[in-house]
């Protein structure tokens, strides 16, 4: 498995999720995996897309098939979760994986999964809002409809820092970060938090500039759903 094939597969999987959200049917994880030239890279893609693979189930209440649940479980066997994250990227992956495992447990009725550690350890100090917001962006798969948890609470408690981050990304023309943060802004809005930006206008602003990369389009699709925009 090489990183580029894993990234390509992740884009293809995100595209499938996007299609499912738009009404094309299920994601079909088992079918996706079977279509990959390198199944290991396919499982890596499942882990990269993370909790977003469950968006059709979360948003449209589609049932998760046992076959698809097995694919996710297999991805955890092939790529075990970091048990004691130390480096910043390990902490990001730990929360990313936690979100995936937690939604899997919710959809399959399994026991709840323990959260990694204090969210401050992964997000850093909010005083350093620029760095903090980049960490928040890296955890965009945690921002889905109905999301709860320590990171969600930590982000929703800092609407100014969050919106500063998305403004910084938009002005720097970094629409990868901007689309991820827009998703958080939309979630925070959906939670009833007062924001210093208009989230609907933000979604439309980013949507015009984000390009065609499926994972960013997925971020914006989630954001649109969260703000109730068509």
């Amino acid at each position: 498995m090489d990183a580029s094939s894993c990234a390509r597969d992740a884009a293809a999987l995100a595209d499938r999720v996007l299609g499912a959200l738009r009404g094309s049917g299920g994601v079909g994880l088992a079918d996706f995996l079977a279509s990959r030239a390198d199944p290991t890279a396919g499982l890596g893609a499942v882990r990269l897309v993370g909790a977003d693979i469950f968006l059709p189930h979360v948003v449209l209440n589609r049932p998760l098939t046992a076959q698809d649940a097995e694919v996710v479980a297999a991805s955890f066997e092939v790529f075990p979760q970091a048990t004691e994250p130390v480096a910043p990227e390990q902490r990001v992956m730990a929360w990313h994986d936690w979100s995936t495992a937690r939604l899997l447990a919710t959809l399959t009725g399994d026991a709840a999964v323990a959260a990694p550690d204090d969210p401050a350890a992964v997000l850093g100090s909010v005083e350093k809002w620029a760095r903090w917001s980049v960490a928040v962006a890296q955890l965009s798969s945690l921002a889905h409809p109905g999301a709860t948890g320590p990171v969600v609470d930590a982000v929703a408690a800092q609407p100014q820092a969050l919106c500063r981050g998305v403004l910084r990304a938009a002005l720097r023309r970094d629409f990868v970060i901007a689309s991820r943060l827009t998703r958080w802004v939309a979630l925070t809005h959906a939670m009833g938090v007062r924001l210093p930006v208009n989230p609907v206008v933000l979604v439309d602003h980013v949507a015009l500039r984000v390009g065609s990369e499926p994972r960013q389009l997925l971020d914006l699709a989630v954001a649109r759903h969260l703000v109730g925009a068509p």
């Binding site: 620029a130 910084r168 210093p196 206008v201 602003h205």
Partner: protein, 302 residues
């Protein structure tokens, strides 16, 4: 705070010293009477900006003795270049719709340098409402100049502010480099360069407090030192002034040993005249930014 006061002081003192040392490079080439005033960017506008910075150093009164002396000398120099106001008077008399004589005069009037005939002309222009067809932030500039000179008008600053980009409270990403300058000048004129911070409406203050750190971060990263300096002035014009040591140290780090502060991150040429021409505005900005920050931190009038 002490460290920030020192940093702001040093930036302002060095920039003002650089302007003073190089002031002759900003003089009219021969005789002001023959200067082409249709090219105000040439020598005319820089003289106005030199007078502005000097007038604010004198108004605030927080600079050291040497800086106060330099500021007094500089505003005297610009007044002399403008033939003690005659040049402004003749220009305003001939062109009643132009705003630059009024705006240039305001800085000198603030410094106690008055011209009676020009003031009579300005009063007549105000009665005729000749300086009207302007961009919203420029209308505020004219209103503030009238206020400084002491010409009474029924200008509604709050209503005029609401016509500007800033007063509309747009989404904060709907901003480009040019409009950022319009935004800074809106604050300068509404508050009369920090003298009236309470004249900014609360929603505008909240808006600026939310987004100034981001605008500063982004334009500092782009090496836009001139705009960064203007944003630091805005920060000092808020009712609760924002004076961030890290932002000030970044601004100070761009300043050269001789006091020159480059307008952006492009290379600075060696030619003395070109250096002055390219970077004089940023030195004016740095002088004002440092002066106002220092004054606010020390609890001055601004």
């Amino acid at each position: 705070m002490t460290s920030l006061v020192h940093t702001a002081h040093d930036v302002a003192a060095r920039a003002l010293g650089w302007l003073h040392t190089n002031r002759d490079l900003g003089a009219f080439e021969d005789d002001a009477a023959t200067t082409d005033l249709n090219d105000p960017e040439g020598a005319y506008k820089p003289l106005c900006e030199l007078a502005l910075a000097s007038s604010l150093v004198l108004r605030e009164g927080v600079a050291g003795t040497n800086e106060q002396r330099a500021a007094r000398a500089l505003v005297g120099f610009t007044w002399q270049q403008l033939r003690e106001g005659d040049l402004l008077y003749e220009r305003q008399l001939r062109h009643a719709l132009l705003t630059d004589p009024l705006e240039t005069y305001a800085h000198h009037a603030r410094s106690g340098l008055r011209h009676e005939a020009l003031e009579q002309t300005l009063v007549q222009c105000a009665v005729e409402d000749s300086m009207t067809e302007l961009l919203p932030n420029r209308r505020l500039a004219v209103a503030n100049a009238h206020r400084i000179v002491g010409i009474h008008r029924d200008d509604d600053f709050t209503a005029m502010l609401r016509q500007t980009w800033l007063g509309r409270i747009p989404q904060p990403w709907a901003l480009d480099w040019y409009t950022a300058y319009y935004m800074t000048h809106t604050v300068f004129h509404v508050t009369d360069w920090g003298a009236k911070p309470g004249d900014l409406p609360p929603d505008v203050v909240e808006y600026l407090e939310n987004w100034l750190p981001v605008w500063i971060d982004v334009w500092a990263e782009a090496g836009q030192w001139d705009l960064l300096g203007e944003l630091l002035i805005v920060s000092a014009c808020l009712p609760e002034p924002r004076c961030d040591l890290a932002e000030w140290e970044l601004f100070a780090s761009a300043q050269h040993a001789d006091g020159l502060l480059p307008r952006d991150d492009r290379p600075v040429v060696d030619d003395t005249e070109q250096r002055y021409h390219d970077h004089k505005h940023t030195a004016v900005v740095a002088t004002i930014a440092g002066t106002l920050a220092m004054s606010r931190l020390l609890g001055g009038q601004a």
